[in-house]
Subunit: 560 residues, 2 copies
Amino acid sequence: MNAPFPPAEARRALIERHAPLIEAAIKAVSARAAWSPFKDSPSTKIHGPDKPVAGKAAFEAQLNRPFDLDLPGVIDRVGSEVSPFTGKALGITYPRCDPEALIAAGQTAWPDWRAADPELRLALCAEMAMRLYDANFEMAQAVMHVAGQSYTQAFSGSGPNALDRGIEALAYAAKAMRDVTRSARYERDFAGEAVSLDKTYVLVPRGIGLVICCASFPTWNAYPALFASLATGNPVILKPHPIAALPMAIVARECRRVLADFGFDPNLITLAVDTLAEPVAQVLVDHPAVQIVDFTGSPRYGGHLERTVTGKLLFTETAGVNTVVVESVADLDAAARAVARAASLFSAQMCTSPQVVYVTLALAEPFAAALVAQIDAIAEDPALAAGIMGAVQGEVSLKAVADVRGAVERRPGVRVLREAAPYAHPQFPQARTLTPLVLGVAGSAPDLYAEEHFGPVLFVVTMEADAAVAEATHLARTKGSISSYLYSTDEAFIDRSTPLYEQAGANLTINLTGAMWINFAAAYSDYHVSGLNPAGNACLADLAFVAARFRIVQRRRPTA
Amino acid sequence: MNAPFPPAEARRALIERHAPLIEAAIKAVSARAAWSPFKDSPSTKIHGPDKPVAGKAAFEAQLNRPFDLDLPGVIDRVGSEVSPFTGKALGITYPRCDPEALIAAGQTAWPDWRAADPELRLALCAEMAMRLYDANFEMAQAVMHVAGQSYTQAFSGSGPNALDRGIEALAYAAKAMRDVTRSARYERDFAGEAVSLDKTYVLVPRGIGLVICCASFPTWNAYPALFASLATGNPVILKPHPIAALPMAIVARECRRVLADFGFDPNLITLAVDTLAEPVAQVLVDHPAVQIVDFTGSPRYGGHLERTVTGKLLFTETAGVNTVVVESVADLDAAARAVARAASLFSAQMCTSPQVVYVTLALAEPFAAALVAQIDAIAEDPALAAGIMGAVQGEVSLKAVADVRGAVERRPGVRVLREAAPYAHPQFPQARTLTPLVLGVAGSAPDLYAEEHFGPVLFVVTMEADAAVAEATHLARTKGSISSYLYSTDEAFIDRSTPLYEQAGANLTINLTGAMWINFAAAYSDYHVSGLNPAGNACLADLAFVAARFRIVQRRRPTA
């Protein structure tokens, strides 16, 4: 092993500097109260006037230029990002690398990392999170212009909220690794002979971790996967979606700098940019050196991985059908507003967006009317729409909504309550926007809504409340669900409904209205994905998310 | 839910009674010093004169009779056990059940168990362990006469040592479940509005756990799997090897009694006895209700499961090639004796039995001579041989040794250092016995020893020590290894060797001689199977062994 550079002192200081953060995160995941080391508002009152300007300038300076990453095995440069806000190509090119070279480089970098004190690895991951927080105004611009998130959502949801998920994973990595004592004295009598053994327990990482990111919300699942694998000693290859590479390129840049600053080989984190025509994910998944796969994305490819990957750790988050059941409400407008906002947020391109709203016959008309009115109130206020809905990332989502609209034309029992339509973005006139299509459905019609439609479409289904819970939880069990919602003033109804949600592995939000987005999932407090239904097998975050990313090897010998 | 019978008071008392045991086990797995709540000697000085007699009587009373288990869906009765000691059929028949009926019964029993306080589930598992300890003299007879273990080994290795592995798994189950707070108050400001949510976190078990047991050492891996799945809320189906059903039938009998005694449906634990002609394992593995599979047995079927099972939790322990490297020794006879005893114990039918002994050229002649002398010393003393070697469970192991013997006939570079031969068992003249075949091999010959030969055969390979470590760790990486052994007086050699063992995921015992069996793996102290090589993916026991057997489902609602 090479002598560490900079000296061991800097590494020790880093462990000390971030120890309080790790401790606070461990306390937070135990107590599950609200906590974060970050501020999730982009307000200049918090960050000062310069950082937003500098972040935007950094993003703009990057446009139409090669992204500077000194990766191994570069074949050529590729890039095909188009801003959903401007409609223009970003013009950024990324090194496309030979997957074998990325793997070989990770393996070359591995021994020093594997041998490093786990506490140092935790501290370096914490340092990466801090650097990424520092770079978050640039990241917000990047996420806006590849994914279509609004500025505020890109700043918060793809910044601090996502980094919190990463630090949450670090907390569990710390707990799992600290759970293993590093040495023991074993003393016992065997057949009258006193035996004393000294035992050593070594944490041995599994192998290269592959992090396959989605296009619409790349950082939120990438940070926990990255930090969980890295902290437990594994090199990581980040595989961004080809139409949303910039956020992961920024992550790779910042994290590689941290590694280099503290004397580690930056190739512990590399970036595998590919193209839609020549995807590289499966090559990496199949490589024997890749031992951990974290996937976020489509149920189609996620399901393929779930059915085919064996002998490796696989963590998935795909999608499902999120439902709202409205049995009774204390304040109809407040409930309708809560659902309307959740259905409008990022034009329903979130894994927590509701898609089906079940309403009792008595409430059907007034609730649907209030829901449409609340969506209209957002859609007709361009500044509000821009802040909430942002842009639609891909044509595919426009098509998804159009397909649904076509399928219900003249279909008995289905009424169009609200047509989807673009709104005029106040800042980006070329923005690809779409406000929600709202359909009224007279009774169960799973052929219409039992699969995820990835775009702004909401089905308002009239159904008796217990039947609605039965169908909602059946959909969760069979199609997956990440967030389910229930409104009722009847405690007996709630009490008989919650076990059904539990058995379907559906995380449930009850009677939430007001300023908090009902589909906001807070790191350290809200578990995200239960692993009990087809929406994915990975929970953010629990011990199971980290405990198998490293293994334990022991040796023992008679006490000297 | 039915009113608990007996009353809740009895359940509370049970939790209190076993709480100190669980706490002590948690302390033990943290400190990893020597600890056990049991005595692992069958001595009447410890247990009194009556229990051994009663245990033997219970076993003998069971011979040639139907085993009484009130299982659901009984098709017929089957039984094909033959004692390796007497050569006679045990004549015990077991109910063979429709697998669908076992699964349906487990699912019917599930809701009360799922809803039970995790602390009660832990206490009930602890109670099962205590009842099994009480029944251990009967169990020892059962294990002897299905597996061929000697009386003392059957008592200790398949009794307290195995129960310790079970309680160790309970300790981790307790840690993982207690790590999840059951409720939290979340308070945070959103856009100037104070939001307060009450959150509830529910532990939800995954589904039916299937425990597939091996024939030669059935209880040792079954207990941890059984208790890990059961304590975390899952029903369990025990699938014994058809030629070694009795131990698991006793386990099912005792555990079902405990469940019934405390008002739970005994069908939470059922027994799926099958026949060699009509195996049932795959039917159960493939059933969607089975969500956890614990397998111990052959690399062939274990490898099949590892390559095909997706979407379920799979824990395996199969086998590998365990090696000894002898670089230099402080006391040649002591080292040779240690290896000889390990190679003789249970006629090498253990997952920790050494198969290949690498010796330097300088040591080759004296070490091989000492090794053979030590094995002879055991083999030629019938009482000692009976206590150490026991019997050979299956004809297949006699054939394995004969096949090796045939393959080396007239092979250049291979010398027969010691012929395998039966020893005369002092108590059971019909016992199927075989003392080790010892072969001297002049240099690397992986075609001879790179696969596990399941029987008493030892290859003594002359090789330079660093090359030997390289080959031994290569075998571990590629063929699997559960226990590796090293003898050296050169600390520099040890220091450069240990990283290779670590990277191969090979648990290493260095310079151990004396009364403790070098292949003894102590629960609470020794990790068993690293999961980093083909010998299996399940570590006994770590957090990863339990953390994913349950999942977490949450609900949240505004504070009242």
